[in-house]
């Protein structure tokens, strides 16, 4: 019966191909979207996973770029017992780099992170930027100089002593750093006051603080003290909490991909159902003969469900191959690679088969309930 079902699909090749396309696109879209969300998730975890400090933002801010705190509040944090150093951060995405528009269309845009030049190793960036490839780190008192990531150095052909123009200001590259997280792959690090100038950031304000405890074991304790002591000023996050926060944002992204998955599965399902209904209607007389020669309702149903399942298997495989290709292309174009684990791929595959079998259920039911005589009468004269 396997062979028979399979051959039945080959009768109307273009119709089968169209149904397969529906499944394929649905599967690929699902794979790429979920893969992207998981990719972002993995990047975020890489970036904050080893953070040895407390990240302090404005109370109620959901994202560090939306948080604004007073620079003068730095002393409040420094006054907490057990705190070694507090580093302010200003970050943003400049409009132009070297005169070129810096937008999403060119992949992940270049971001600018300004921090205390003497405390880079005690900043948010400390865990992500440990290896200097060329030149030197920022130092206290530096001005007009920047560190760039290796990817930026490769992409823009910049070396130590090259000049890089951010918005309307020119800077000299003094060091190239290897970053351990792709989250920071396109990043320019510069002294905080230079960042303020470039991004036109309000005087006396910064985005966030990074609080480093004298004893790394005290991270959670200091996190709690800040939240407890300044509930109206700050929200403090440890590495784990930051990951959780990122997770919240990703959860809403996941919900969105679920909606898209639902829509694409309905579309694919309708394609399969239409194909199978047409195919059943064309074969009334054949199905009648099968029943006449002793096939039961269930046998007929099985045959049609098998055909739907084949559609799901073929469409699923095509969709996975197509999805992986699209994912690679997105990765090459933007630098953000969708994370497609074998688990995700097998889930998507099972999903494709389930949708197809489900969509084939009604046509299969219709076919199985055909009376042999009605089916035979339909097919008179072929």
């Amino acid at each position: 019966m396997f062979k028979m079902s399979f051959l039945n699909l080959l009768r109307r090749k273009s119709r089968t191909v169209l149904a397969l396309l529906g499944i394929m696109i649905g599967v690929a879209a699902l794979l790429v979207l979920v893969g992207l969300v998981e990719g972002i998730n993995a990047l975020a975890l890489d970036a904050v996973g080893g953070m040895q400090g407390v990240y302090v933002m404005q109370d109620g801010a959901t994202d560090d770029s939306l948080s604004i705190v007073n620079l003068s509040d730095k002393s409040k944090l420094e006054a907490i017992q057990g705190v070694k150093v507090v580093t302010p951060t200003i970050l943003g995405v400049p409009q132009t780099v070297d005169g070129k528009r810096n937008s999403m269309s060119g992949g992940i845009p270049v971001s600018v992170i300004g921090t205390d030049p003497g405390q880079v190793s005690n900043s948010l960036l400390a865990t992500a930027m440990q290896n200097l490839k060329e030149g030197r780190m920022l130092r206290s008192g530096d001005e007009g100089v920047v560190l760039i990531s290796t990817k930026l150095s490769d992409d823009r052909k910049k070396h130590v002593n090259s000049t890089i123009k951010i918005n309307d200001y020119s800077f000299k590259v003094i060091g190239i750093v290897e970053v351990t997280s792709d989250f920071y792959s396109n990043v320019i690090v510069l002294p905080i006051e230079d960042a303020r100038k470039v991004l036109d950031f309000e005087e006396g304000k910064v985005n966030s603080f990074f609080v480093v405890p004298a004893d790394p074991a005290n991270v959670d304790k200091i996190d709690k003290i800040i939240d407890f002591k300044y509930p109206d000023d700050f929200d403090a996050y440890s590495a784990q909490e930051t990951a959780a926060l990122t997770g919240d944002i990703l959860d809403s992204l996941r919900a969105m991909t679920l909606v898209i998955a639902l829509i694409s599965s309905i579309v694919a399902g309708i394609g399969v159902m239409n194909t199978m209904l047409m195919s059943v209607m064309e074969r009334y007389s054949e199905i009648g003969v099968l029943k006449a020669v002793g096939w039961t309702n269930n046998n007929v149903m099985q045959m049609i469900l098998l055909e739907s399942m084949f559609l799901g298997v073929l469409g699923g495989i095509a969709g996975i191959v197509f999805g992986i290709l699209v994912g690679e292309l997105i990765g090459i174009a933007s630098g953000l690679y969708p994370l497609m684990t074998p688990m995700l791929i097998s889930e998507v595959f099972i999903f494709a088969i389930s949708v197809s079998v489900f969509a084939g259920a009604y046509p299969a039911f219709r076919a199985s309930r055909l009376e042999p005589i009605d089916a035979l009468r339909e097919g008179q004269g072929d």
Partner: protein, 260 residues
């Protein structure tokens, strides 16, 4: 194989009993009385011919006897069991185990080759693929087209296709085979060959046949011939099988009509 002795009808148990069946169906708004009270028995080993013009209800009668349809009124007993009381599963099983069908338009599956078409009835059973294939090949040999076993229906002539469908009807070793105009789509020469196969199956293997046709030349092979008109049996005559000379006014009329 076993030649049936001259047992009187009354002592034999009928394989099919049709009792006063009526079949009415709706064609658009009009009620069509396809069968208006038909009774007949079919005994094992018989070759029955149901003769009648188109629209006489002969195909409808065959469908009721072959458990392909359920009469509006009356009963059809197969081996003493009333098919009007059976559910669709039991009807399928009955057809699978006891019956074979040959259709005018062959009704082969176009994607499968001849031998695969023959073993279609065995696909949902426990019979292994190998055994089914072997038996299908044997049957194709019996109907004389084993060399065409791996041809698709569209590569076969009409006569060859009908022989494939005869082999398909035989695959489950049925007791009774129903044929609806088996020669209807064939030229007279190929038709004769097909009839010869049917005759051999009946006489040498003792298969019971019920054949519906408007071709009066088939009566030579028949045990009994029923002439049906307007949903009623008009005549029952002995066929030409055992040396009887078949006689019927209406059939003579039919023959003359055909010659014109």
């Amino acid at each position: 194989m076993v030649k049936k002795g001259k047992v009187k009808k009354e002592e034999r148990k009928p394989i099919i009993e049709v009792r006063k069946i009526k079949k009415t169906y709706l064609l658009g708004e009009t009620k069509v009385h396809a069968l208006r009270g038909v009774s007949l028995n079919v005994y094992p080993g018989e070759l029955i011919i149901i003769l009648g013009p188109s629209g006489s209800g002969k195909s409808t009668l065959l469908h009721q006897m072959g458990a392909l349809d359920i009469p509006t009124e009356g009963k059809v007993l197969v081996d003493g069991l009333d098919i009007t009381q059976m559910d669709s599963w039991n009807l399928s099983m009955l057809r699978r185990k006891k019956m074979g069908f040959i259709f005018q338009s062959f009704n082969l599956i176009p994607t499968l080759d001849a031998v695969e078409n023959v073993h279609i009835p065995l696909l949902p059973t426990n019979v292994s693929e190998v055994a089914a294939h072997r038996r299908a090949m044997h049957l194709l040999k019996e109907v004389g087209i084993e060399d065409r076993a791996h041809h698709k229906p569209n590569q076969l002539s009409g006569g060859e296709r009908q022989r494939v469908s005869i082999a398909r009807a035989l695959i489950n070793d049925p007791e009774i085979i129903f044929a609806d105009e088996p020669t209807g789509n064939l030229d007279s020469k190929t038709g004769e060959k097909v009839l010869e196969i049917i005759r051999k199956l009946n006489e040498e293997e003792g298969k019971t046949f019920v054949i519906v046709t408007h071709d009066a030349s088939l009566v030579e092979f028949a045990d009994r011939v029923f002439i049906i008109r307007d949903g009623l049996i008009e005549e029952e005559n002995l066929g030409g099988k055992n040396g009887h000379a078949y006689k019927s006014e209406s059939v003579e009329l039919n023959k003359r009509k055909r010659k014109k």
